[in-house]
Assembly symmetry: C2
Homo-oligomer: 260 residues x 2
DNA sequence: CCAGGCGGTTCCAAAATTCGGAACCATGTC
DNA sequence: GACATGGTTCCGAATTTTGGAACCGCCTGG
């Protein structure tokens, strides 16, 4: 196991749920001996990937991650084009929009477009969620080959909220429906009372794929309003597919860094 | 040289000026042989620290840096408190506010508060600039010990814009003035026609230090207006120092990860 | 005021990884 | 068809990393 692997293992311990960690936390989470943890944390701190709170001695992501994270935003084109369209839809419907990418079997929120409705922002950028339990997560999965999907979903199917697919077969049924209709829908899954509809967009040029979704309160919307969202999304999908040269039938073969 | 060191060396090649790099760029910038570069780039890509554009084959910071960069924001307290105050000052004066940290002899912008005046945002968050040529950069340096300053400034004093201190002695004169008045001023330095005033804030609790500055067009402001900015800053500084327990006379001994 | 825990650091020999030169290869282009 | 670009793979030598153990400074509770 290389030094880099170890470093990454530590970095992966941080999440929105655990934005900072103590020495003991890191030891427990990685299962590494004290000396190795000590050396590695020091190395990561010295190089700016981590910072240490001088008072509590806890570790958190460092200045370097902040700088590089800003640069990652530059990788635009597809995302900013989608964001522009999403902004208009959100302005018209009042709902909240999300753009996310797939990483393994999880999705990471890249952009959020706050809506005007009282439903407040629940998934800030950087948030990582199981792709199986979100509308645009499943929309992205639906565009992969069955073999790829099988490889991404953990061998022991995870325990998901009640309305999410409960096993691999149910999942494939829902993905097939998405493949037919082009739109993915979720309700009362990751968050109780919250529903969303989304679709996946894949650049014909670079092959990168993003998920675009609109999220709303299930209680506060009528069936007619949800049908309207679906129409809006379908129109946005058609326009973006045309702009980006997305061939719907073409399956994604390789997605960057998404093995985990 | 450890694998981690090499990885960091590559990551440091990226900047706002060079947000993506080709294989050859990385080889040239690091001076490493082809095989090592190949292996390392692959490792970085596989672990999510870098991404590769499938079309151009160029490398850029990856999803993991985006996620961790968002978490870095969580490290708030001092910064968010300062941001709140700065927001009010910017609303009153119409100028643009910056919060930055010191890293070695450079500063990195953490937050920006856009003003209402036509002077547009010039330094987005994540931007790295020589601390010697900015008002809050010098304000932060002024709070270090002379020995620490000498250690941070490169042995061969860098070539700076005309109005910046041109050698170590001039620098120390300006820092002494900042130490006396508590406020740092710059005009026509990093950017022609742009002036700024700033100060450094150091948490009495954690010891971390940030720079807070207000930036304006030199042409479009009168001396009276600049004096007003100075009063506003002095008042904000006094308030924040009280809130954070900042003892002005106490010199910063160690600042995180700021050796480079 | 001593014991014990936390958060480390340092040491060392064994084990694992990295290093870099060289050969090779797939694409795209002149 | 030759050449450049952007890699990958191989291999022995050289360098790092590893983890157990001992040690240390600080703080807290008894």
């Amino acid at each position: 196991m290389s030094a880099l692997t170890n470093a990454i293992e530590i970095l992966h311990c941080f999440s929105s749920a655990r934005p900072d960690l103590s020495f003991a936390d890191v030891m427990a989470l990685t299962g590494k001996p004290k000396s190795s943890t000590s050396r590695l944390l020091r190395a990561l701190r010295d190089c700016g990937l981590l910072e240490q709170d001088p008072h509590t001695r806890r570790y958190r992501p460092g200045l370097l991650t902040f700088e590089l994270g800003r640069l990652h935003r530059a990788h635009d084109d597809l995302i900013s084009m989608a964001e522009r369209e999403l902004r208009e839809v959100c302005a018209r419907t009042g709902h909240t929009g999300y753009i996310a990418v797939l990483d393994g079997c999880e999705q990471v929120v890249l952009r959020i477009v706050p809506g005007s409705n009282p439903l407040r922002v629940v998934n800030p950028p950087g948030q990582r969620t199981p792709a199986l339990a979100t509308s645009n997560g499943r929309a992205m999965l639906a565009r992969l080959s069955d073999a790829d999907i099988r490889a991404r979903v953990p061998a022991t199917y995870p325990k998901l909220p009640r309305n999410s697919p409960q096993n691999f077969k149910q999942l494939m049924t829902r993905l097939d429906e998405i493949r037919r209709t082009g739109i993915s829908e979720a309700a009362d899954e990751s968050i109780e009372g919250v529903g969303s509809q989304g679709f996946a967009l894949k650049s014909g040029e670079t092959g990168e794929m993003i998920g675009i979704a609109v999220s709303y309160s299930v209680q506060a919307t009528t069936a007619a309003e949800r049908a309207n969202v679906r129409r809006e999304l379908a129109a946005m999908a058609a326009k973006l597919r045309r702009l980006t040269g997305d061939q719907l039938d073409q399956v994604v073969t390789r997605v960057q860094a998404g093995t985990r």
